[in-house]
Point group: C3
Chain length 159, copies 3
């Protein structure tokens, strides 16, 4: 038990813009000296996928999900105005112009700031995602671990 | 006033996957001995609809909403990859394979664990939903009741 | 430091229904004597746009975003059942019938109740929105200011 403020974020969404918001808040809170956890569940797990293909054995449905879902943060679409992939390009262009950090770098920065990145094991099972396919140095847990963090949290968000 | 931890969830979304997340967190928190409230508003009210048709008198617009909106949790679509109803089937198939509890059972479990299920009366009015159409043993309240719970809450989420 | 309860809402979404939910909660919390902040970011900034066209100098991408995004709360679509703009009309019709306050009035009421309306400066930059295009009497801040409010908050939501 420390006296540090705590921020927890459930990242459910698999959209580039919402994931960006989650990581900007997380990095801000970490810089503000909060203990920060991002609990990735459902489509939010895609933010943790490695961008290269990984050799893992899977059933048919799991292969389907694996193919359909974006492989990593950089391949996600927007929650609004996605325009068949043109929207993310527009956003990335303006981000570059304004020197804003792209999402993969925001995730790296979070790891450097010791933001705890957690993958929800129950939804990993459902979507057929395996540890080999996800980023290194993340944690694996379920809803009980989330609640243990969140009930001590000052800022708890569902994104 | 008890010393119990409290979790409150506003369920605004009418998606199968988001509703599942809401009920998994709620059931987890109840098992963790929290007092838990799910406040169903807007499209989230559809999770509380009975799946059979109910005889109630309605105006034209209210009938339209009633027809268009899913009748109960099991008929909801996904927030992502819905694929005209194929997505929910995929999810339900993998859930079955992994022995995960389907949404209607998660709702029953919440009721058994005394999670307080509340229907927002203001949005019931707007969408023309009547008490006869919703599950038994739920409560009816407005934003003031939600805030009274949430301001004492340890974990407050909007889903 | 006051002993007042605090509510903070991040309004990320640019949907009419979600924005309505945000402002109903905010107005309720203000009536309940909470200090309330709505932090508008990404598509949520559109709720703060003036509905008339404003003469400002912009680059090409910024002009594009300006044209594509809804000019003010009243022009937003729904998160569900938008039906190419017919959905918002249906909702507004039933709201009128039930004497529910339309969104632009909910925003005015929030301002009268001293709800702090904040525009996220980082996403204003990204989307090319300028102060002249947004409502008067709002504040401008970034994620640090949000966190300073939220870490003292009793109810913190991401909508």
């Amino acid at each position: 038990m420390t006296d540090k403020k705590k921020t927890t974020i459930i990242l459910f969404s698999g959209d580039y813009d919402k994931t960006m918001a989650a990581y900007i808040i997380a990095n801000g809170a970490a810089a503000y000296d909060h203990e920060v956890t991002i609990f990735h569940t459902f489509w939010g797990l895609n933010a943790l996928r490695k961008d290269e293909k990984t050799q893992v054995k899977k059933g048919f449905m799991e292969k389907m999900f694996g193919k359909i879902m974006p492989r990593g943060a950089d391949k996600m679409g927007l929650s609004k105005m996605n325009f068949a992939g043109f929207g993310p390009k527009m956003i990335k262009d303006v981000m570059k112009k304004h020197n804003a950090m792209p999402l993969p770098q925001l995730i790296e920065m979070a790891q450097e700031q010791d933001v705890k990145l957690v993958a929800c094991t129950m939804t990993m099972d459902l979507l057929g995602l395996q540890k080999e396919e996800l980023l290194d140095n993340i944690e694996y847990a379920g809803v009980a671990a989330y609640l243990a963090d969140a009930q001590e949290g000052n800022v708890n968000l569902f994104i």
